[in-house]
């Protein structure tokens, strides 16, 4: 009987705990939460496959701007060369890597060949953020996925979780690193470094919500696709004239 009484009392305390939590949440939300009246942009990038000439200016500018180590395996943005051969085999090589420089580039039996610039897709529904055990990676209010290097443990879960391979382990800081859309630039009203130096406007950048944005025209004029739409990651990097073989 005594045990039953105790249990009953404990159960009656459960809603009380919820109330406490709600009150404490209310306090913090009023203090620091984002200003709801100020409308923020939703940053996005458009990539026009038909305009990319594979000059690799973008990835060099990215490495300079963001202190990315020079080795080709450490990249925030990269360019893939796709070669679809007459036997329907698909060759993908990393621009700037040894295999690509070695000469077996776009051979004569190629049916079609093109470059695909890639970077973090800044998903609205990012798997990397879900798996981080310490909440070191998060989405900003303007839709960019960032990594807090001070909090990151370097466990590498996010690198495994990213379906686009957009993250790498920084060899110096031993923390996860990735494209930030050059967050420090776009907040100053500048373009991301890769977009700034792209000589053919294969990369365009802007606010996905704004009507006066180069992305708006791109979405209106072109056939648009995103990478791996079946994963429901909802990328904010959109591709125009993307080949069906691109994974």
């Amino acid at each position: 009987m005594l045990r039953r009484k105790l249990l009953r009392k404990l159960v009656s305390l459960i809603p009380l705990a919820g109330t406490f939590q709600a009150i404490s949440k209310l306090g913090t939300a009023q203090g620091i939460g984002p200003d709801s009246e100020h409308t923020l942009p939703t940053y996005g990038m458009g990539i026009q496959i038909d305009k990319c000439i594979g000059c690799a200016r973008c990835l060099e500018a990215c490495k300079t701007e963001n202190n990315v180590p020079p080795e080709p395996i450490f990249v925030r943005t990269w360019v893939e060369r796709y070669v679809i051969k007459t036997n329907n085999e698909v060759d993908v090589t990393l621009l700037g890597a040894e295999a690509d420089a070695a000469g077996e580039v776009a051979p004569r039996n190629a049916l079609r060949s093109f470059f695909v610039p890639k970077l973090c897709n800044q998903c609205a529904n990012p798997p990397c953020v879900q798996v981080c055990p310490v909440e070191a990676t998060f989405i900003t209010d303007d839709g960019v996925v960032l990594v807090d290097g001070d909090r990151c443990l370097g466990c590498g879960y996010c690198i495994q979780a990213c379906p686009y391979g957009a993250r790498y382990m920084h060899p110096v800081t031993r923390t996860a690193d990735k494209c930030t859309f050059c967050y420090h630039r776009i907040r100053k009203g500048l373009l991301p470094a890769c977009v700034e130096v792209c000589p053919t406007q294969a990369r365009v950048f802007g606010d996905l919500d704004s009507k006066a944005s180069p992305l708006n025209r791109l979405k209106r004029m072109k056939k648009i696709h995103v990478l791996k739409p079946s994963l429901n990651t909802e990328p904010k990097v959109i591709y125009a004239d993307l080949d069906g073989e691109v994974r």
Binding site: T28, A29, I32, G33, P34, D50, K51, C52, I53, G54, C55, A56, R57, A61, T64, E65, R81, Y82, V83, V105, A106, A110, S113, F114, F115, E135, F138, T140, D141, L146, D148, D150, R151, T180, Y183, H184, R185, R187, K188, L190, L191, A193, E196, V197, C198, P199, T200, Q201
Partner: protein
């Protein structure tokens, strides 16, 4: 007080001490960025936004440089940013004694303009081994207004791959102008003044039709061959197949 056993009293002092220290650490010692996700996000976001920039953005270049930005927007390099070729220039903006690079060597321009099958058709490309070897590009081409030093006479100056393909095909004997009419302005402004292409299957029929007087060409019956398809939907005119 007398009723409470000594052992319970001591234990409760320990419990209260633990509770007080927990509350102190959790709510007063730990920074908000560790306990509150919103505060953590705000702090990390501002930390990221405060990083230094290296590329200044081409808008600021035109504040001092007048001639080049005015010239470049008129020509084929109008889409290029200054820093595409001159490299990151924020250091130059802050200290004018630090000069950005000016690539004058022959190695630089082929980064974009070497022929590469993966590059989109229509993008101007050369073979750096064959194209005026050892001469620096800027000797003939002004990088701020790039164009051929003289108006090209031959179609192959720009359409080299088509010229090479045609050279090994059965159509080797045909001039480009047999099938295409290029207005004179096409040599200067190729994109705004396009060369023509044959309009329909009757054009191919002038040689390949059964009633053609051209004896050397293979003959087909235009009425039955190929249905409603245009000839070039199956046969590539610059490299038509054997039979």
């Amino acid at each position: 007080m007398r009723n409470i056993p000594d052992s319970v009293l001591r234990l409760s002092i320990v419990v209260v001490a633990i509770a007080v220290s927990f509350v102190t650490i959790r709510f007063f010692v730990l920074p908000a960025s560790l306990t509150d996700m919103d505060a953590h996000k705000a702090r990390a976001t501002e930390h990221e936004a405060a990083r230094e920039i290296r590329f200044a953005g081409s808008a600021i270049c035109a504040d001092c440089h007048v001639e080049e930005p005015g010239k470049i927007v008129q020509g084929y390099h109008s889409l290029l940013s200054c820093e595409t070729c001159h490299g990151p220039a924020q250091a130059h903006v802050e200290d004018l004694d630090i000069k950005p690079t000016a690539p004058r060597r022959r190695e630089f321009c082929p980064v974009c303009h070497t022929y590469d099958r993966s590059r989109p058709t229509g993008f101007p490309q050369i073979n750096p081994v064959a194209h005026n070897p050892l001469e620096p590009c800027i000797q003939c081409h002004d990088p701020h207004d790039p164009k051929p030093p003289e108006t090209p006479r031959e179609c192959s100056a720009c359409h080299a791959e088509i010229a090479r393909t045609k050279a090994i095909s059965h159509h080797v004997g045909l001039e480009c102008t047999t099938c295409h009419v290029a207005p004179d302005e096409h040599r200067v402004t190729p994109r705004t003044n396009r060369a023509t292409k044959p309009a329909g299957r009757q054009f191919c029929g002038t040689c390949h039709g059964e009633d053609s007087e051209n004896k050397g060409a293979l003959k087909v019956d235009l009425a039955t061959h190929g249905g409603r398809y245009q000839c070039w939907q199956c046969h590539y005119p610059h490299l038509p197949e054997e039979s």
